[in-house]
């Protein structure tokens, strides 16, 4: 009975669950609409004149510049990007922890706002009980809906082109995302020990640190390291607004046609991104092995963490935490961010000035209709990208995993060395790494060599980058799949194709669909980035307005972006709920 009372808790606002068939009709219609927006059905798309540029790029890759001076520049840029990521993550975790506690339901329950009671409250009373919780959640939705680049462009106007701008550009949106995820993790921990302490007279904060926090810690650490992976990618992409680091240098090399500089930078980028990813997934294994998809889509937040007990895992965990501490100190020394400028009077003045100029908002020159058309373009870019990413990533994941080929063989007899399966698996993983390590705007510039400007190059670049991210996550899931049902199918004589259709796909499909829709939420934010290098949508409008310092119009563009993001988030979470149940 008590459990019934507890499980009655539910977020206040939710779209009703659409039936699955309806989802697919909606998806098909949206993709056709988006394709029409991108002129896929009419007009020339490929620019045949661009192939000579591609050949020059290939030539540059084959004759890389490995001079000591340039290698030193590469190393310096790598360390800058790494330091941005480390400090950005550090502050986003701080924001996330405080925000996560304040926007968790359980925290306010502990404070008696929604005290457990058998008295049926009126709707108004129930709303009042939820009000601080709802307020915290709503407040955090705004920073989350703008991409790091947009925050970077805002902070540039306040702090200038200094490390602080890059750090905050990562910390603000990621802090809000962390807060949301942390609050969900906290809310999904077993609540009874916490309530037991409260009802023995312990103050809420103490009970929180003794009951909820220790249970949530493995998941919090897992997620924090995943955020660090994301921060590395973000720190790279922030280069394009001039914040320095690898992204900036690659952009410079590309724009000044010095293609021989491309390869050393690319190698540095792959090492940085690849090593972080490996570290992060080893750490997650040490913490009890939730996959990246699980930690993001909220499945399995209460996973058992039985393996923490083992000494090797504990040592690895401890080593990792100490390394992070040392990295943070290194980043502070290397970048020397000037934290005093946060409180400087000049900062306040500039902030006030910008806020004064930004309100009241004004429509852009084309009026509301123009804004709507660009919003439509932005939406179309994200839909096209995800429509490509979904099937491509799923197909590649099964090739990349190589799992289905080695069914039922014990580890020692598994094919190793240079079997075709191993090679294809290796190649697919390498491709995923390159695709996700290279930031989207760089992909846009390369794709613009051969594709005429418009929505399409943006969508292709976005698809490539997200293919890398999504594909890797799916490979991880396939790697961790329960093998027993597949072996059972094999032993009754099913062919590999049949095993795939009847065993593997049904097992992972709902998780994958869930994740693709979750990725769509990220994608709609990322469309701004490709807009800034000229690939259409609201991003392009925003960068034009920013270069004209047209603040009232910027405000309306930002509002359009935020509304669009919230719309996509609502749609996506409705679909994901359908696939989780």
């Amino acid at each position: 009975m008590r459990n019934a009372a507890l499980s009655a808790r539910r977020p206040a606002f939710r779209l009703r669950m659409p039936p699955r068939q309806l989802i697919w009709v909606g998806v098909a219609a949206s993709v056709i609409w988006a394709a029409a927006q991108a002129n896929l059905f009419s007009g020339a798309l490929i620019n045949p004149g661009g192939w000579s540029l591609v050949m020059r790029l290939v030539d540059g890759l084959l004759h890389p510049n490995f001079s000591p001076a340039f290698l030193r520049l590469t190393l310096d840029s790598t360390l800058i990007t790494l330091s941005y990521a480390v400090l950005g993550t550090f502050f986003s975790l701080a924001i996330g922890m405080v925000g996560g506690i304040l926007s968790s339901e359980v925290w306010w329950q502990a404070h008696g706002f929604s005290q457990e009671t058998a008295r049926p409250g009126s709707i108004a009373l129930r709303f009042y009980r939820r009000s601080p919780w709802l307020a915290a959640r709503t407040l955090l939705a705004v920073p989350r809906s703008l991409h790091e680049i947009v925050w970077g462009l805002i902070f540039v106007n306040i702090f200038g082109l200094v490390p602080l701008t890059a750090i905050f550009a990562i910390a603000v949106p990621f802090g809000a995302i962390c807060a949301k995820v942390f609050s969900e993790i906290l809310d999904e921990q077993p609540r009874q020990p916490f309530l037991a302490m409260l009802n023995a007279g312990a103050p809420p904060l103490q009970a929180f640190f003794y009951a909820l926090f220790p249970s949530a810690l493995p998941n919090l650490i897992s997620y924090s390291f995943y955020r660090f992976e994301c921060s590395i990618r973000s720190a790279t992409v922030l280069g394009i607004i001039g914040a320095g680091g690898l992204g900036y240098q690659i952009l410079l090399s590309l724009q000044s046609l010095r293609y021989q500089e491309f390869l050393p930078m690319l190698i540095a980028l792959l090492l940085l991104s690849g090593l972080t990813d490996v570290w992060s997934s080893r750490l997650r294994q040490a913490l009890g092995g939730s996959t990246r998809i699980e930690i993001q889509t909220g499945i399995n937040h209460t996973a058992s963490n039985s393996s923490i007990g083992s000494t090797r895992s504990a040592a690895f965990l401890k080593g990792s935490l100490i390394s992070i501490l040392l990295l943070t100190i290194f980043a502070l020394v290397y970048l020397k961010p000037d934290f005093s400028s946060i409180l400087a009077p000049r900062t306040t003045q500039l902030l006030e000035g910008i806020l004064r100029d930004s309100f009241p908002p004004r429509m852009p020159d084309g009026g509301l209709l123009y804004l709507l058309r660009l919003s439509g373009q932005t939406l179309a870019i994200s839909i096209l990208a995800m429509a490509a990413v979904g099937p491509l990533a799923m197909a590649a994941a099964f090739v990349g995993s190589g799992r289905l080929r080695n069914l039922g063989q014990i580890t020692a007899t598994r094919q190793s060395g240079l079997s075709p399966a191993a090679i294809s698996s290796y190649l697919v993983r390498m491709f995923f790494l390159i695709a996700r390590a290279v930031p989207t705007p760089i992909w846009v510039l390369v794709i613009l060599f051969v594709v005429f400007p418009g929505i399409l190059p943006g969508a292709v670049a976005l698809a490539l980058h997200n293919w890398g991210i999504t594909g890797r996550l799916m490979v991880e899931t396939v790697d961790n799949m329960d093998e027993r049902p597949l072996v059972a199918l094999q032993s009754l004589g099913a062919s590999p194709g049949q095993i795939f259709m009847y065993g593997a796909l049904p097992d992972v499909f709902p998780g994958f669909i869930s994740y693709i829709f979750y990725r769509w939420e990220n994608c709609i934010r990322e469309t701004v980035v490709i807009g800034i290098v000229g690939a259409g949508g609201l991003g392009r409008l925003l960068s034009e307005q920013l270069s004209n310092f047209d603040y009232p119009a910027i405000t309306s563009t930002l509002i359009a972006l935020i509304l669009l993001t919230i719309l996509v988030d609502l749609l996506s979470s409705a679909v994901r709920r359908q696939y989780r149940s």
Binding site: E116, R119, A200, P214
Partner: protein
């Protein structure tokens, strides 16, 4: 030792003040009636056994007594103060005087045993001390002695999840012991342990209450209600069936209590 009168905000100068006073208490969950029209008074130092079939409302009553749950109707007074009308913060000093042993223990599995024991003292520790203790365990002496008292002194720094069910229950008892409350509530403490352990746990609880503490235990093993308690309350379908001293409870009453309908 400080007495309850000095510690609690409200003065209760009667010779044997009621620890709990329930007036016409009903408790509903959606359409299920867990407790209906219950009137009850429990004095200091009493040893009370709550008996009755599954679903009689015993667990609900325990949750009402320690302030976890507010009644749908009626009033629950603890040390003369109604818990219903005061804020969570005002409730805390009263709740500190009530230690509860839950059927599922409600320990934090990821924590070492010592922290789970120290959790019983959070009500009297300041915030900084509580946080510091999570990193360098503080007052280990008291925790170690208490753990020895419940019979597993060697488990002090083990992760709680690695302990067996019986050992976890001892940790839960140790947590209540370091809380040093005036009232101990226990919800079916021997429902899932073997006869030998059951006897040990029941003796431990009885000995504790020998020190002037009030003890309220819900039970299925009716023989312990007669041997270890001085008052037996029979609950059936959320209503009070009898409330007597053990010698007045007849086998017929017990039969009516557990009769299948």
């Amino acid at each position: 030792m400080i007495t309850i009168k000095e510690k609690l905000p409200r003065d209760s100068s009667a010779p044997n003040p009621a620890v709990f006073r329930l007036r016409d208490v009903s408790c509903h969950f959606e359409s299920v009636e867990a407790i209906t029209g219950l009137n009850l008074e429990i004095g200091r130092g009493e040893k009370v056994a709550l008996v009755g079939p599954s679903g009689a409302g015993k667990s609900t009553l325990i949750l009402l007594l320690n302030g976890s749950l507010a009644p749908t109707q009626g009033d629950v007074e603890v040390f003369g103060q109604s818990l219903v009308r005061i804020s969570a913060r005002q409730r805390r000093p009263f709740q500190r005087q009530i230690g509860t042993l839950y059927q599922q223990f409600h320990l934090v599995n990821n924590l070492a045993v010592i922290h789970n024991i120290n959790a019983g003292r959070l009500g009297s520790w300041p915030l900084l001390k509580s946080l510091a203790s999570l990193i360098w365990p503080l007052e280990t002496q008291i925790a170690a002695e208490t753990l020895a008292q419940v019979g597993i002194p060697e488990k002090l720094y083990e992760r709680t999840a690695t302990l067996s069910g019986g050992q976890q229950q001892r940790v839960a008892i140790a947590r209540v012991l370091v809380q040093n409350p005036d009232v101990i509530l226990a919800d079916e403490p021997i429902a899932s342990i073997d006869p030998e352990r059951s006897r040990e746990v029941m003796n431990l609880l009885r000995d504790l209450s020998g020190q002037g503490k009030t003890l309220i235990v819900s039970l299925h093993a009716i023989e312990y209600a007669f041997s270890h308690f001085d008052r037996i309350i029979g609950l059936r379908a959320g209503r009070l069936l009898f409330d007597l001293i053990p010698s007045e409870v007849t086998p017929a009453m017990i039969q009516t209590l557990y009769k299948l309908t």
